[in-house]
Amino acid sequence: MTDVPEGKPDPLLRIADLAIDYRTGRRRWTPAVRGAGLQVDPGEFVSLVGESGSGKTTLVQGALGLLPPVARIRAGSIAYSGVDVTDWNDQRMARVRGNYVGFIPQDPNTSLNPVKKIGQQVIEAVRFNAPEARTAAQHREAALESLRTAGLGDAERVFHQYAHELSGGMKQRALIAIALAGEPKIIVADEPTSALDVTVQKVILDHLVRLRVELGIGILLITHDLGVALDRSDRILVMQDGRIVEEGPVRQVLENTTHDYTRRLLDAAPARQAGRLEPASGPRTVPTGSPPVLRARALTKSYHLRGGRGRQRQLRALDGADLVVRRGTTHAIVGESGAGKSTLASILVQFTAADSGTVHIGDRKLTGLGRGQLRESRRDLQFVFQNPFTSLDPRFTVGKLVAEPLRAFKLATGKQERAARVVELLRAVALDESHLHRLPSELSGGQRQRVAIARALALNPGILVLDEAVSALDVSVQAQILQLLVDLQAEFGLSYVFVTHDLGVVRLIADDVTVMRGGVVVETGPVEEVLRSPRHEYTRELLEAVPGAGFTGSGASEGERVGTLIARQA
């Protein structure tokens, strides 16, 4: 694009003091990025870490010239190889995008055109960026080559497929192929794996690292997951409130954390914790030999797939799953998407009826109960949903939400008595009276999940089933909620069934763990045992894929881990 000056070449991308505002009113602008700067050198892998709302995505959109119309660049500059593109219009930026900078989007499931074949979409990327006119056959060959480089071995077949015929990981590879098709010098990846399973995430990220080495391109990875960043980057930038608060090589950031926020992030990362969280009230006595409180035997559930030509097919969501939860302990169920873990949780509380098998609470059989008896059993068995944005009725105030189970069971009937109980419950989850009259839309994600937990506790249940209850939350909020759950368990002697896809979280909260895959229980046992010496190959695979696993206090030393990484790249 420009003459490279002698000596040190210009960085591939340099963002300096960039400030981006969003329009929030007629003449009102709210800053999203406040003077952030970064640079990526050739062959460098840089990660930008931040929680939701930190402005990291806006920063990247700004760099690519893809800001929505309601946003504006107020100050600062963006330069690719020393060429300032800050004020370039769409037409000129189109020549930079694809050609000079490739982009890998967040959600592979929505980022491919559903009605065009993959090959066509890659060919477009080749054609837009080919400076000299080439023949259709050459375009096609280049597209296939790009698909192969992206790690799709069966490129010929993928070429003729539609997006919906591919798995999530393959879609993301197709998108990487599109990003590579213009032969860019730098690739920007915005949370490229947050919609994918951990094992797939590992493969995709490892591939990016390899591409960096093979093609000598620079990579800028945007992620919310500090573990992901630690594993692969040369340098890390931490972003908070629109500012870069920490910057440096991985080891420097780990060893000499300068900013308080980075330290908090590091501490909150599940992978960084050595063992189970202790309740605030003091170390807990681990219940040994406590009786089973919830038992599930040989649960099976199939869904019918209505097939073409009148055929009936079945999808086995759950295939003979067993589960035993001991009183006063936490039993985690882990697995990737399609493992059947949510189906299992849903059957435990009888939102879904099993095809066969039984669920017992204590001595009471839950499966096959009538609606009335089932309702009675709800007092002892409560459920917390994954997404606190959908599990609370948007029209109810916090007070009304928490009081709902009391109303349903006609408990604490006096007006004052009920109000007192609601406040008591809110206090238990570290909220207070000031939240009573708020609507869910006026609360943060963490606060909503607290409300959902308070509501679940209203009936004094013995067992709480939590379905991915912290997955939708930022790491720091996630850590707070996990601590809350541990404290509540110590206070009320609760038993938890904790469904999650994140093995890191399991270490923090669970006593027992059950690993599932494809509707089948792969392995079950005490956490220490399963995580330290997994018996099943799949469990091992899962453990290895946990991002940042190498940086735990108890695991391999940082030096070793970084060393092996470097060795592998060489």
Binding site: F351, R378, F385, S391, L392, D393, R395, T397, A408, A452
Partner: protein, 296 residues
Amino acid sequence: MTVEPDTLAAPALSGSARPGSGRASLRRLGELAQQPVLVASWITVLVVIGWAVAPRLFTSYSPYNGDSAASFAPPSAEHWFGTDRLGRDLFARTVYGAHTTLTATLLAVLIAFGIGTVVGLIAGFSGGIVDIAVMRLVDVFLAIPSLLLAMVVVSVLGYSTQNIALAVGISSIASFARVMRAEVLTVVNQDYVKAAYGLGGGRPAVLLRHVVPNSLNSVIALAALEVGTAVLAVASLGFLGYGAPPPQPEWGLLVAEGRDYVATHPWPSIMPGLLLALVVVATHRISTSYRKEHRR
């Protein structure tokens, strides 16, 4: 010119902050002031409702007796909409016509809304065979163009404005039922409804406390839109001559009466017609803003 809503709201906030009370409505007023078109729409609708309720307050002319010397007077300060062949003041006839047209519209929307919502709720909430049966029936009503259906119903019931209202109402039941059912199905599958069952709520309690209130938003938006459609349908049937007989003033009929002289004197047709269009545009604008505000 516009008041900053936040500064106004601040004192209310520091007190016992209850959403939906003074603070929220003040903010809403502030937002409204930033949307002149929406304000104009509300004013249009309110004025026309005023005509329907108390026409005498808005015009001193009689809608029936004209000054035959002043036939086909063009619009002027004296006769805002001009006069017709018999010298009757067209503005007065339009103002009085609002009563006929709007009552019929309101009745039609109420019929469609009331029956359609209940039918959709039953279908969506019961599911199974009830749902299938109801929806196939709805299919049939949707298959017959609503104006055609309304014409047939009026022909069976007899020509009058009330029957027009009934006919227009019946012919739009199906669309309300369909929207309500779709909405109920969405809400029933929401986590918070599952949660309500999980917390020990019975079916009637869950239905009344969660499903109905959360399903109604879209249907209310549709009702606002349907007011516009129903005004058009009522006026169209009036125009075709199925409504009130002359000399009664009704908007569609007014346009029809002026139609024969449109080559030489266009205003007797055009003025009431334009007003009708204005009212429909206004209801559309209101409906759109309602939908935007309640979208989650």
